[in-house]
């Protein structure tokens, strides 16, 4: 998954949880939860959506890396390309 794909995916997930948010207006390096007004339940739903769609199961200890929009996108790119398992669709 490249950066554009990852961003599109994040956009979809965010839209599901926070339909009123326009990601283009979100500072890509600002704290994501604040910027999108996500509570911890929303964030868990976001992580769950990522898993359902990509098979990537993000452990809690990695949450800090998802702290901004850029961080989230980069994490997805890295997670889906690790070990040559491009696409990372584990199910």
């Amino acid at each position: 998954m490249n950066t554009t794909e990852a961003r599109t995916l994040v956009e979809q997930f965010v839209h599901r949880i926070a339909p009123e948010v326009d990601l283009d207006t979100v500072d890509p390096v600002a704290p994501l939860q604040d910027a999108l007004d996500l509570d911890s339940m929303d964030f868990l739903n976001l992580v769950t959506a990522v898993h359902d769609e990509t098979g990537v199961e993000i452990p809690e200890r990695d949450y800090p890396q998802l702290g901004s929009l850029n961080g989230f996108v980069q994490y997805l790119v890295a997670a889906t390309t690790v070990g040559g398992s491009l696409g990372g669709r584990a199910g």
Partner: protein
């Protein structure tokens, strides 16, 4: 032959209207299945069935307003024959259906008739443009919510179109008013007192982290679920915080129906209930919390979410504030608040360290309890959170 009746979905509900049947005669249903969607004057609620059965005759079609307790459908339970003397459908006799010109909910129809309003002049927000009670110009008699729980938010589009074209009415204004009425009454009638204490969450967060590392994603638990669990347990052990005020005396509750204040995107507040929260473990509490938050935000609660609460929790932890001194939801007598979990300097065992700490607060009704009782309750919540594995 059993009957599925119009349930009471909120303390002040007298009538309801089936918006949609989700089952047909002959369908097999199990306890907890959603069988119908009901419109009350304040909300849209998915109604669950409380026993395993087969649906017999549908007795009340969509669109007809009936009093609570009215049989809506036959339920054939195990051992009964499906063709047991079905009750004939006599919906023609139930008044409100005769007006074919303007689609409107019966409640809207009744209110309009009472107020002398011509429905034809209104633009409806209901299914196929039907006029709903909420479309009527707001009169003076806003029904006072005995619990905000049944005042369902509907300013978001429904996530689940009822019949492909249904748009839920925008109740944000009536909801704002209902919250206002409830809070004003609480502030007027309840002599609140407030207590707060800092709670060391090191053990709790360590336990959660370790647990969440080892379970599948779907079983992860957010700290709020643990806090709710501690409150539900403590509420059963301290007198005077779990129950309701009945005009001139306190009625203690035997179970804990835990109200959970849920903030809505775009503003507003709704407090669905987790019934029998004292009988749920942490995992079940998490599932219940996830469910009520999802449904509250989607705009369609279930009948079980509208059970009258016996104590309410407000968790403002995600809003970045440290403490909440809440307003009790009448007729309840206590409201528990949690602020943000923060890393704070913490002295323990003669050492100063940094620990995750949350400030827990209690707003309680002085007619029912005193500071001493409230303090016992808060201390117990704090103690329980030191042993998360036992929750």
């Amino acid at each position: 032959m059993g009957e599925f009746r119009m349930p009471v979905l909120g303390a002040d509900m007298e009538v309801g209207t089936i918006v949609e049947w989700r089952v047909a005669p002959g369908d097999v249903v199990h306890k907890g299945d959603i069988v119908a969607v009901v419109d009350t004057d304040k909300s849209t609620i998915e109604v669950e069935v409380f026993e395993d059965a087969t649906i017999g005759e549908i007795l009340v079609p969509p669109g007809v307003e009936v009093p609570v307790g009215t049989p809506l459908a036959e339920l054939i339970t195990a051992g009964e024959a499906a063709d047991d003397a079905p009750v004939p459908v006599t919906t023609e006799a139930t008044g409100p259906t005769e007006t074919a010109f303007v689609r409107a909910s019966p409640l809207a129809r009744r209110r309009a008739a009472e107020a002398g309003i011509d429905l034809g002049e209104l633009r409806g927000a209901g299914p196929s443009g039907a006029v709903l009670a909420t479309d009527l110009p707001v009169a003076t008699d806003l029904p006072i919510a005995a619990d905000v729980a049944v005042d369902v938010p509907t300013d978001l589009p429904s996530t689940e179109d009822l019949d492909g074209a249904t748009v839920l009415p925008d109740r944000s204004e009536t909801r704002r008013r209902a919250v206002g009425v409830l809070m004003a009454r609480s502030a007027r009638e309840i002599p609140h007192y407030y207590l707060a204490t800092d709670v060391d969450l090191l053990a709790a967060t360590d336990w959660l982290r370790a647990r969440n590392e080892t379970v599948p994603l779907a079983e992860r638990i957010v700290p709020a679920a643990l806090l709710l669990r501690a409150v539900a347990t403590a509420a059963t052990r301290v007198d005077g915080v779990n129950g309701t005020w009945a005009g001139d005396h306190f009625v203690p509750a035997t179970r804990v129906h835990l109200g959970v204040a849920v903030a809505l995107r775009g503003g507003g507040l709704v407090a669905p209930t987790i019934p029998d929260a004292d009988h749920l473990d942490v995992r079940e509490t998490m599932d219940a919390l996830r469910g009520v938050v999802e449904r509250a935000r989607s705009g369609v609660l279930r009948s079980s979410d509208a059970v009258a609460g016996t104590i309410t929790v407000t968790d403002l932890g995600d809003q970045g504030v440290d403490e909440i001194l809440g307003v009790i939801h009448t007729p309840q007598v206590a409201l528990v608040g949690f602020g943000t979990v923060r890393e704070r300097p913490w002295a323990a065992d003669g050492m100063l360290g940094v620990r995750p700490v949350v400030r827990a607060s209690l707003a309680a009704d002085h007619r029912v309890s005193d500071g001493r009782d409230g303090a016992r309750f808060l201390r117990l919540v704090a103690d329980l959170l030191q042993r998360p594995e036992e929750l």
